[in-house]
């Protein structure tokens, strides 16, 4: 019997794969603590994309010449890598998108416009990124459906005890939630939400932008109906992402965008649609980027998804302990045990913009913003936070520099 030994992640070694860390910021070593916003890229991905452009580049599909075949093969091989990564039953259910936002809009428009109406309810959470909040709010308005929000407790965790009250609002048709909160790092109980959604006869739409790069995500185990993630947060290029959709739903849905590739037959009177997944992929896709996403999937799979999750868990425990030593820092969100590698915080009497600016002078990159979660900011009674987030190349020394930088912030504003 084969025994799999869990691999331990060696961030110092992995870091050498990322050319950006060879470039100091303001003369200081780069401490990149903004991976929740976008991850850095390893040489393996950059080299593979360059080689693709130099040796295999032609437009995908319909080409009869060898070069086009090679490009198509690289593109479609990436689709299989996406399928395997999230354990989708079939590549027909893997739609390439530009990013998570496009994937979620695809569901909101192509499914929502035809399936929501007066008496129906679209449900999101107070933790949502605007990308999984605004489309449902707006499609609900257009269709006359109700829009409801699952609230959070003071630790930033969903209040599932509020679900029964929400169910009174009408016929729940869709529940949309993120697997991991991009602002607080909260890991949401998507399995329980999915079970509830299905009991109501609703579909479950999952924003997995902060989850797929960092932890094992299995769409069949979750039971969700749609799930989106993006390449640029998992060591891949920008401009590529993927949406998983359950086949029965995708087959019944109208196309989102129309044009080339997504058609079967076009006449003046009528158009019929291509098979899945191409029905939802109008126009020339960002196929080199989609290919690069596949290389990035190989990279993180080789490192080990479980190893990444475990390592980030260690880092987030470390940073939470260090921040707890600073009485003038407020940390938002759940304890380390129920949190991914994302920490939002504020320094007393200092705007997060000023925090981030001073940290930058120490080479420390953190985001200072509402993080596209304005309803959550309002719930927390603030306008913005500073946010540190981690990935497989993050090292404890970066946390030291963050803490050192925060002392400098304190000194400047003393």
């Amino acid at each position: 019997m084969a025994v799999t030994t869990p691999r331990k992640l060696d961030a110092q070694t992995l870091r050498q794969d990322f050319p950006i860390f060879g470039h100091p910021i303001h003369g200081k070593p780069l401490s990149y603590l903004d991976s929740a916003s976008s991850s850095q890229k390893p040489r393996q991905v950059l080299d593979a994309m360059r080689t693709f452009y130099e040796t295999s580049y032609a437009n995908v599909h319909r080409g009869v010449y060898d070069l086009a075949e090679r490009a198509t093969a690289g593109f479609e091989a990436s689709r299989e890598k996406v399928r395997a990564l999230i354990n989708a039953p079939s590549t027909a259910e893997v739609i390439f998108t530009r990013n998570v936002t496009q994937g979620l809009n695809l569901v909101a428009y192509a499914w929502g416009l035809d399936n929501l109406g007066p008496g129906d309810v679209a449900v999101v959470t107070e933790l949502e990124h605007h990308a999984n909040f605004v489309p449902w709010q707006q499609i609900a308005k257009r269709t006359g459906a109700e829009f409801r929000v699952i609230g959070i407790d003071d630790a930033g965790e969903l209040r599932l005890d509020g679900l029964d009250a929400i169910a009174q609002a009408g016929q729940i048709k869709v529940v949309a939630a993120n697997l991991v909160s991009n602002t607080l790092g909260t890991i949401n109980p998507i399995d329980r939400l999915t079970a509830w959604a299905h009991e109501q006869g609703a579909i479950m739409v999952v924003d997995a932008a902060q989850a797929v790069p960092h932890r094992r995500v299995d769409v069949q185990a979750l039971g969700c109906d749609f799930l989106g993630f993006t390449s640029h947060k998992l060591c891949g290029p920008t401009g590529a992402g993927a949406l998983y959709g359950r086949r029965e739903l995708l087959e019944r849905m109208s196309p989102f965008e129309m044009g080339g590739e997504m058609i079967r037959k076009v006449s003046i009177e009528e158009t019929t649609w291509n098979d899945l997944p191409y029905k939802f992929e109008a126009g020339t896709p960002a196929f080199v980027e989609a290919y690069g996403m596949g290389v990035a999937i190989d990279y993180i799979t080789e490192v080990g998804i479980e190893a990444i999750e475990e390592y980030e868990h260690e880092l987030v425990g470390l940073v939470l302990d260090r921040l707890a030593e600073l009485p003038w820092v407020t940390v938002y969100g759940p304890p380390a045990g129920r949190r991914a590698g994302i920490v939002s915080f504020n320094v007393d009497d200092v705007h997060p913009h000023d925090v981030a600016q001073i940290l930058d002078s120490e080479g420390v990159c953190v985001r200072a913003s509402h993080h596209c979660t304005q309803p959550l900011m309002r719930r927390l009674g603030i306008t913005a936070t500073a946010r540190a987030s981690f990935y497989l190349y993050s090292i404890p020394e970066e946390i030291d520099r963050l803490i050192g930088g925060l002392h400098k912030v304190r000194k400047v504003f003393a």
Binding site: H351, P352, D354, D360, S369, H370, T383, A384, F413
Partner: protein, 144 residues
Amino acid sequence: MDDQLYREIILDHYKNPRGHGVIEDADAEADGMNPLCGDEVSIYVAFAEDGETIEDVKFSGRGCAISQAATSMLMELAVGKTADEVARMPRDELLEEIGVPLQNNPTRLKCALLGLTTLKVALHKAKGTPLPDGLAGFDELELK
């Protein structure tokens, strides 16, 4: 770089903002927001009897040190000037007053100009004059 940015005068204005408050029944007022960071500012103006000279001007809202300090300095600059003078005040006049290098930091430039842009909107609204195109050059600011 931010040793220059967070000069003593900026921190002083941030911690002790001049003209912070609300003018009830103001002759001119406007709200501005920087959607990038969520900074908000409301500006209130009271004119002197001539209806042109700014007798009092106050601001409320929350924001970073740069936006709060810049708005605080603006309050001092604007008092005694006419509405027309302030509406035509070049942004460099305020930036000079702030005296910190922001040229290479467009994000923070928006913070610094939020107050001025909002004040200009308030004055144009009160006088019924049309807002100039690309007011202060920052279309991204959300002005009400």
